[in-house]
Point group: C2
């Protein structure tokens, strides 16, 4: 952690080291250690430029420990004009294991750059309203997954002091840097693979779960783009993630006349494969199946599931990008495609 040194107004000082239950202040620490409040700040905030003897440093640290004093992040940020807080609104869509891991890596990488990463769920708030709620925490940067932020929201955040607003999703938003997770490539890889395997009548599962359109629509578009001009057909298959819905789709499968299906992801693949198996539809003889996300799940299915492996940028790379944006708040917003995709072929296609 790195601290910015601040001096904040204190409540009236108690006559002796703070009694249990009152919140100790830096003045209490200064009094107990017999040093000035500035010295306390220097020591506890590791201000390297200032020369303070090791015994004094030790005395301050011991006093802080004895009193249970910790610096106040909000006070620091009020004085500094900004915080080291990177706010990451919790995504509004159901998060799979791949994405969770990605977010966790990114948080660690930002932590190593001395940022405090805070996730803030704003359930039920949208657009400007959500941006205002985020702005109240006065983050130095906001990294927004998904597609819930508009240009007005970006403006609200910047006016409240955010030095960088970065979206992480399918589209750019005016005024914000964009890390484009362009899911077209996922569908494109799946479509091209199925075409290469000789399939010409291709179904595409589109989850009915709210919040997934931002991913499923470009994946579908990617399949269409891969097959454009080839004469192959694309059939949209809306599907909820439950057994009944999968059974109903499987029951009318043979009427659809499809010879392949891209299932949106591996979890929908498992659901649909089970239902097709229960109907006696043979995989891959009658229908080739391709999932996405490359979860272990797919290797445990029989036939083993072909899948699209998503290549996300490293947390370290993204953290560096956020950091550069914070250091140069006047820079023109940049958009950068950060998602790659490769097919892992197994037995199902």
């Amino acid at each position: 952690m790195r601290y910015v040194m601040v001096q904040i107004p204190n409540p009236p000082a108690p006559a002796s080291p703070a009694p249990t239950r009152s919140v100790p202040t830096s003045a209490d620490v200064a009094r107990l250690a017999g040093v000035s409040r500035a010295t306390v700040s220097y020591v506890l905030n590791n201000a390297g430029a200032v020369r303070i003897s090791e015994p004094t440093r030790r005395r301050v640290r011991e006093a802080a420990r004895e009193l249970g004093y910790v610096p106040h992040a909000a006070a620091r940020s009020l004085r500094a004009g900004h915080s080291r807080m990177v706010l990451m609104p919790a995504p509004a869509f159901p998060v799979g294991p791949l994405y969770s891991q990605f977010i966790s890596d990114l948080q660690s990488a930002l932590g190593r750059l001395d940022y405090t990463v805070v996730q803030y769920g704003t359930v039920g708030l949208h657009d400007d309203e959500a941006a205002r709620a985020w702005a109240e925490l006065r983050p130095v940067a906001v990294l927004v997954p998904g597609s819930g932020l508009g240009p007005r929201g970006v403006e609200v955040l910047k006016r409240s002091g955010a030095r960088a607003v970065v979206t992480l999703g399918p589209e750019s938003v005016e005024g914000a840097h964009a890390l484009l997770l362009d899911h077209d490539v996922v569908g494109h890889s799946a479509g091209a693979h199925l075409f290469d395997r000789g399939r010409r009548r291709i179904g595409v599962v589109v989850p009915r779960e709210p919040g997934l359109e931002a991913f499923s629509a470009p994946r579908l578009a990617g399949v269409r783009a891969a097959l454009r001009g080839t004469g192959a057909t694309v059939t949209e298959l809306p599907l909820a993630h439950d057994e009944g819905a999968a059974a109903r789709l499987a029951a009318r499968w043979r009427d659809l006349g499809l010879d392949a299906v891209f299932t949106y992801n591996d979890e929908y693949a498992m659901l649909l494969m089970r239902a097709l198996e229960d109907e006696g539809v043979r995989i891959p003889e009658e229908v080739a199946v391709v999932g996405a996300d490359n979860l272990m799940l797919g290797r445990l299915l029989r036939p083993r599931l072909s899948t699209v492996h998503l290549e996300l940028p490293s947390g370290r790379e993204l953290a560096g990008l956020v950091d550069r944006a914070v250091r140069d708040p006047a820079a023109a917003p940049e958009a950068r495609k950060v998602l790659g995709a490769t097919v892992v072929r197994r037995e199902s296609s």
Copy 2:
């Protein structure tokens, strides 16, 4: 959201409505609306007790909108002495879908009680060190999942002004309220069920993944407790969540002489069932299998997986508990068991 009205010192006022890029203040709003700063606070913080005419309220809101002004949570909390922030450190263990849903419900419920729920990952920090990092954000309450907080950490948080510290895990910590997720009951249910099904030589999968001991150890202990005095045996089966490890365990399965296995959860069940199937071990004829968590996954396996359904308290119930603890910070710490378990029997046992 509910706001506490505060007056905070302002930087020198600009001569005209704030120019683009500077952060607008409540003084700017007051000037543009032609009212006092107190009126701005009353209006924007919805202080219901104060009578202000609707046209004035409208003028203030319009000025705030025009300037892009949002209240500053940190300033509010500095003046109020505490925030409405409930800090939930991100858990250090891999989180399954069941737990994710639980956390998300809890956050919504706290949000409805006007708390701002912030998740804060402190990767690599432990005990007191983590508690100090949390304390810097000056949360009004801290809800700690898992078992990473000790009595000293609780003290640090309370000294920094947290009115309630609540742990959500297998054990109580001195000074904190405890919502005991006692995983003994999960293992106990599984063990008793397998015994009822006539099984006497019972294996228990213990994940090798770090961070899961807090759950796996009590689940194992629960199985042992259920079988104590019955003459049935319990065999610990350490297992990593990868195919190679599962294949190695399955290869020596028949030497183990087990007739049942409790697999820790449904995901390990899928992994082990696949490996046993590849070895030609018949389920449930040769070995009965019980998972836990009652995921959809288990219904998609063949044979369909028996599982332990975990009964977590509702988010609303827990949120109410946190709120009561905040309102009565002097109350003696309470421990309360909040986890129930029932077996859902399917084809695998």
